[in-house]
Symmetry: none
Subunit: 198 residues, 4 copies
């Protein structure tokens, strides 16, 4: 076993190794013990870091959580040529990612944390809004191809999709079959309203 050299200060500048160790430890703790066990003490212990070091760079737990979440790999848009398939693939990718990687647990924790603290909530809300903008690209894609009704507001739709995703996450419904998912998407696509046969 190689003698692991103790990590020390590297002088009057931030030690990236520490930051890295802290984020990794935070992620591990979150996976292993969940949000309940996600304490600064435990992260510091795991990272072999001092608590003040953590507090210095991540003043809130929410900020640290967001940083951990952002280190996760992001979703890549599909372009199959058919809007419905793209949308289903997109949602499915996110749900699968949440289900099969720590991301789901992490994001759940972020949302929980944000409910206790005004500024955290603002940060998460901003994050959500940014994601809506990204999602709206997908809508615009469909709109450009004439598959989406021109009168539709892309951001508004992105909000519906974001809402759907959060709800699935928060109510433990990440394990849908593709058919179930396609059914749900179908509702959004076709709309509720009874269209009179023209």
């Amino acid at each position: 076993m190689t003698k692991e050299p103790k990590r020390k200060s590297i002088g009057a500048t931030r030690n990236p190794a520490s930051a890295e160790a802290i984020l990794t430890a935070a992620e591990q703790v979150l996976i292993e013990k969940g949000y309940r066990g996600f304490t600064i003490d435990e992260v510091a212990r795991r990272a072999k870091a001092g608590k003040p070091t953590i507090y210095k760079w991540w003043p809130n737990k929410a900020v640290l959580l967001l940083d951990v979440y952002l280190r996760q790999k992001s979703i890549i848009f599909q372009n199959t040529g058919k809007f419905e398939d793209d949308l289903v693939a997109f949602i499915n990718a996110i749900l699968t990612n949440w289900r099969e990687t720590p991301s789901g647990q992490i994001f759940r924790s972020i949302i929980a944390e944000a409910q206790s603290d005004e500024t955290s909530r603002a940060a998460v809300t901003k994050f959500a809004t940014d994601r809506q903008a990204e999602t709206s690209f997908l809508i615009l894609q469909g709109l450009k191809r004439g598959e989406v009704c021109a009168s539709v507001d892309p951001i508004g739709v992105a909000r519906w999709i974001g809402a759907y995703l959060w709800y699935q996450l928060l109510t433990d419904r990440l394990s849908l079959t593709t058919d179930e998912l396609r059914n749900d998407v179908e509702i959004l696509l076709a709309g509720l309203a009874n269209k009179p046969p023209s």
Copy 2:
């Protein structure tokens, strides 16, 4: 100052006065100090109740929160004769209630709490499912009147609506104008898909 008689046991049976005092205190604490300050200790202090009494009847914090939430007045369905108006009124009533009464803060806390604990989450998920069943009455109403497409799954729609409501709550978007809300509802009603002019 009138000497307030201390609340005592009323024998080997649950004292409703205590339950009442605890729920009231819990609500007050939640309003005044938020979820962060919502501790069993504080509730017990405020209610002049023993902590064991609280733990006896509400094993989880989530359960207590749900009980507090359920004491709030509930939403009554509208029936204006037009499905879209009913739906908008329904959503608006909930959002307004969340915005203008403690209910919003309380329910936010419930969702947060549920993310820390498996059993709490199950309880909240069950609650959500029950509400979807209620909401689906609205859909069925519209369906009976022929305003809703017959092929639509009422529970599935109720889920979309629930998702929308939670999302608005969790991302601090409770103060929509009626027009904004109507726009959002419109998307769900009309659907995204471009309907070719037949």
Copy 3:
């Protein structure tokens, strides 16, 4: 398994079966869990008695403890014809009894309990004084036989012996060999003072 009939009230008079059950339960609890685990709750549970019943008849824990102690069998004086042997046998009988029956544990608890409470201490002190009077019979026996110096105060000696016994109990020295004990007794008998050869 015979269906054990639940013990009920026998009307407006003290139920001796309850008293018996409580004392027995108290003794068992003390043996099994020690003084720390000796709680009224536990005794009530074990005796299948209501707590108020216990409090009614034994207002203090110390009183209950004393009652339990007094149910134990008492020591019988020896009379071997030689004072030293009688004394050693007497002390040894008590130490053995304390070591091999619950009595030691019980009496230890009584002493501990008595230190917290003024009236309990008075009760125990009275008990100790009574025992000294009994012990002094032994001294008088020796005195009558001319083995004990006539100028000696029997009660004073009984006090020394009581002190010795308590000390052995409280400092976990109940397992002396007879020789060790005889040595200790020898000191008391012969005295410290250097007797000049007359």
Copy 4:
């Protein structure tokens, strides 16, 4: 009123000011409220210290009590030239100290506490043994001067004296006159046995 600066950590090392404050508070609580009121909570409150700080350095209540006891001033041996006088003075000094300072109350509590817990009892027994060793110096002093019989075991005698002291403390007999005390000591010095005139 001068704004008292809050006591803080002084880094990763024990803060003596805290230790001091805790011991002082513990002593005060014991004096004012007795052993019944001597709770870690109360000590922490009084010392303005956190409970974990107390538990960190004093794992048992008995250990804390012993530390409090040891802060009291100790007894100084006399050397009057006469063994009996030295012994009487020694015992009297201890009894007086127990009677007139908090030491008596404190030591009583220590003994009581030790009866509940095995490890505490071991600590107290060790303390008692150490004191016996000290006391035996007094015996050796007398032995050296030829006042004490050479065949006597000093530790054995010290044990008798320790027993006597504890017994007086535990049975509320701290207020003896010098004559009463001298009588008791006389018994130990002269011994019980009837010495036949040679």
